[in-house]
């Protein structure tokens, strides 16, 4: 062996050890957040029934400083692991990647709800329908003030009727009789299973496209925003993303028949009836395949959903556009639109900015449609539009920038993955103010 070969061999011996160290750092960072969070009494842990009491006594109260340091450590280790795994398969084995992802996700599953109160809104809407006979598309949780879940719903959402699709609302109904704690665990389990399903499909799609499936599931399943914000909050975005990947895998894996295309169209509609955003995949899939099967499948699913949605919730249950329009008017301090407004010396986003952003989004959509018509990868086009939606949204939350990630890792355009990870990194950077100036 030449001197150069020996040097390379020596350095490659360090790669698995370094990969293992980075994986351990990620697990330690997540464990720190969960163990400290289990104590409650933190601005980062929403008021919640005590579901992680058995983890108390190990950590200390979770403050912004510790949380942000742990988030930065996890993000740095994640980036390092991806770079290593991208260069050599010796960085982490298939088994190592699966163990790492399972460890991260199970730790979060076992812990308290992190960051967001959304899951309590999901439970409140379910209990409104099942326990109180109220239509969650007509009333906000304030209508059930005596219900045990009411005290946990976020203040901003007390008067807001559900914006989620009728399929999700109906899926959540069987959880309502379980009580708040039972429903909370069921929601957490739903999110975990959806995540597992998404990762399995990412693996299959990556293999079908001759990409490294280990790297693909690492990018999604060990992603800090995915684990801490997405899974940590038991967000229903994970269920939407699972439906999205079912549709994508139906058109990428194995022999694509009209029946599978019809099923893919129907699954996209089903996903949109959980959370409407995933509907953006449908036009790109249709433009790419140019066969009626997907349209027929989608129309059939829409018809069934309209009948069930109308039957269960009336007109409001199927008026997805109204809910989207309402939410599009919200403004969050983390949105890029707000940041750019501040950069331009404005106090915030004005109504005209909403219109400009919507116009930009339409133009991006039309351009991507034209590219898809000419043969551009429809999976990448869908991912770009989901990324554009999150970047142009005035109401940006961490779990919104997860949407394009599973598509980015199986798309033919690597720029989409780079752009998605950059946007996520910027989101994390924007969270860091309390690290430099902690307000009590």
């Amino acid at each position: 062996m030449s001197e150069r070969g020996r040097a390379r061999s020596r350095s490659e011996r360090w790669v698995p050890a370094l990969g293992g160290l980075l994986a351990l750092l990620m697990v330690a960072a997540v464990a720190e957040i969960v163990l400290d969070g289990a104590l409650g009494h933190s601005a980062l842990i929403p008021k919640s029934p005590e579901i992680a009491g058995w983890l108390q006594g190990i950590g200390e109260r979770l403050g912004y400083r510790v949380f942000l340091i742990a988030l930065l450590v996890m993000t740095g280790a994640y980036a390092g692991l991806l770079v290593l795994a991208g260069h050599t398969q010796a960085a982490i084995s298939k088994r190592g990647a699966v163990i790492l992802i399972a460890a991260l996700q199970l730790i979060v599953f076992a812990g308290p709800i992190l960051i967001s109160t959304d899951v309590f809104s999901y439970i409140a809407y379910a209990r409104m329908g099942v326990e109180h006979g109220l239509n969650p598309y007509l009333h906000g949780p304030v209508a059930i003030q005596g219900d045990p879940v009411f005290q946990y719903v976020g203040h901003d959402w007390l008067h807001v009727a559900t914006a989620y699709g009728p399929l999700y609302t109906l899926l959540s109904y069987p959880l309502a009789p379980l009580g708040v704690v039972g429903a909370l665990w069921a929601m957490k389990l739903e999110a975990l299973l959806a995540s597992g399903g998404t990762l399995a499909l990412v693996w299959r799609c990556a293999r079908a496209r001759e990409l490294d499936p280990v790297l693909a599931i690492l990018i999604v399943g060990a992603n800090p925003l995915y684990v801490i914000y997405g899974l940590g909050g038991a967000h229903n975005d994970l269920i939407m993303m699972f439906a999205m990947m079912v549709a994508v895998s139906l058109t990428l894996v194995g022999k694509v028949t009209p029946r599978r295309e019809a099923a893919a169209g129907a699954v996209i509609v089903a996903g949109a009836l959980v959370k409407a955003t995933v509907a953006v995949l449908l036009p790109f899939m249709v433009l790419s395949r140019r066969r009626g099967a997907a349209i027929v499948g989608a129309l059939a699913a829409m018809l069934v959903a309209a009948i069930i949605g109308y039957g269960a919730f009336g007109l409001q249950g199927i008026n997805v556009v109204a809910a989207l329009n309402r939410d599009a008017a919200f403004v969050s301090s983390d949105s890029f639109a707000t940041e750019i407004a501040h950069l331009l010396g404005k106090p915030g986003v004005f109504p005209v900015d909403h219109d400009l952003l919507k116009a930009a989004l339409v133009l991006i959509g039309l351009y991507l449609a034209w590219r898809t018509w000419r043969g551009y990868d429809w999976v990448a086009a869908s991912g770009w539009l989901l990324l554009a939606i999150s970047v142009t949204s005035t109401w940006l939350l961490a779990w919104y920038i997860l949407w394009p990630l599973p598509l980015a890792v199986v798309s033919r355009d690597r720029r989409l993955l780079a752009a998605t990870l950059l946007v996520q990194a910027l989101f994390i950077v924007h969270q860091l103010a309390p690290l430099f100036a902690p307000v009590q």
Binding site: L211, R290, R291, E339, D413, H430, A433, V439
Partner: protein
């Protein structure tokens, strides 16, 4: 994973239902190779957008750090002014104009859960000097109420005109 421009020329999928379509309508498995110019333009635009987002994010982070320093000074000022070392204070940054540095800081007048006793609200603005800012006025609030005009009383100092009901 190959970029679109590096892919082979357009091909018809040639599967059953779409084979009835005219050639120009046939689905394409890959985009035409092209000159690579479109990809260059797209990538340049993406880099520019990425730069704008990065600059905006870093600018906003530094702005938030400055605001947080100001809020820390406001809380410190409230504690010094009232002599109460309470930490459950609420700060309203919009009541006296969003985008200004005029803030209203409210806190209990005796130990209790947040807003469970009479609250004292201070109107604060000006530069941070020695970790605190100038109190220009204020008002009291009854227990268990939000800071709305109808529930204010005992306005003092330079509290904005009309802050308290006459």
């Amino acid at each position: 994973m190959s970029p679109p421009q590096a892919s082979p020329p357009p091909t018809s999928a040639g599967r059953e239902p779409s084979s009835r379509l005219p050639d120009w309508l046939q689905p394409r498995d890959r985009e035409s190779a092209g000159s690579g110019r479109r990809r260059l333009v797209e990538t340049t635009l993406l880099v520019l957008v990425g730069l704008v987002l990065t600059v905006a994010t870093v600018y906003d982070l530094s702005r938030e750090v400055k605001v947080n320093h100001r809020l820390i000074a406001d809380e410190h000022t409230w504690r010094l002014y009232t002599g109460h070392d309470y930490h459950d204070l609420s700060i309203d940054q919009e009541l006296l104009g969003a985008g200004t540095d005029h803030e209203v800081v409210c806190g209990n007048t005796r130990p209790a859960a947040p807003k469970a006793t009479t609250q004292l609200c201070l109107v604060i603005w000006g530069p941070v000097i020695d970790g605190r800012r100038t109190v220009h006025g204020g008002w009291y609030l009854a227990p268990h109420v939000e800071d709305v005009r109808a529930d204010r009383y005992g306005c003092f100092g330079e509290a904005p005109a009309g802050a308290c009901p006459s």
